[in-house]
């Protein structure tokens, strides 16, 4: 599964995108964020306040409880500030 990061989430994680293998038990976006947060200090920093990190599944905004099975691309990013 491809994971992408944007803005300060990207800066903190230190990469723009990566491929990861989902371990068993990681079923939702919230599970995935918690799993990533345990991968190192950079990830822990990026996900230190999971309430402010937003996510998209296959380029569509999704809530933390959304299931991720079958997704090709998941992205994490701060609240949007375009316009």
């Amino acid at each position: 599964m491809k994971i992408r990061y944007f803005a300060w989430v990207r800066e903190r994680v230190g990469v723009e995108a990566e491929e990861i293998e989902l371990p068993a038990g990681v079923a939702t976006l919230a599970d995935l964020a918690a799993f990533l947060a345990r991968r190192g200090e950079n990830y822990a920093h990026a996900f230190e306040n999971p309430r402010v990190v937003r996510a998209a599944i296959d380029r569509v905004h999704a809530r933390p409880e959304a299931p991720i099975a079958g997704a090709r691309e998941i992205a994490f990013f701060p609240p949007m500030t375009g316009g």
Binding site: F6, A7, W8, R59, P79, M80, T81, G82, G83
Partner: protein, 157 residues
Amino acid sequence: MFTVRIQSAPFDAACEAAALSDGRQDVGALVTFTGLCRADDAAPEAGGRLVALTLEHYPGMAEEEIARHVEEARRRWPLMGATVIHRHGRIVPGEPIVLVVTASAHRGAAFAAAEFLMDWLKTSAPFWKQEEREAATGWVDAKAADDDAAGRWDPLP
């Protein structure tokens, strides 16, 4: 004509607006919104004068997310055309960032659709602004006021 474009180059608002009405006789109302980068003088301890904004975006999703809201606007109002252009990259004060043009037979629909699109662009289009100030660089925080503005549009059944 319904168009969504994400680009780093500046846009010509006039030309884009004209494209929705030229040669037609059914458009009675054309609303053009241009959002520009404002110079803003923060206190020195907050970084000082704004030098530039750099807009990062999620390629692919940005177009798709905006196109979804253009479709939603078409479900809500009888539009004859809409154009949304959002720039990315480095933008200095005085330069345009975003353009929304809506065309309809009547002004109510054109105004409402333009405001609807702008409210949703602010809160759901995957763009992030980084401020480059004289003495600091940092990411712009999302504004609660923008969430409130987007929240005023009740979902359609």
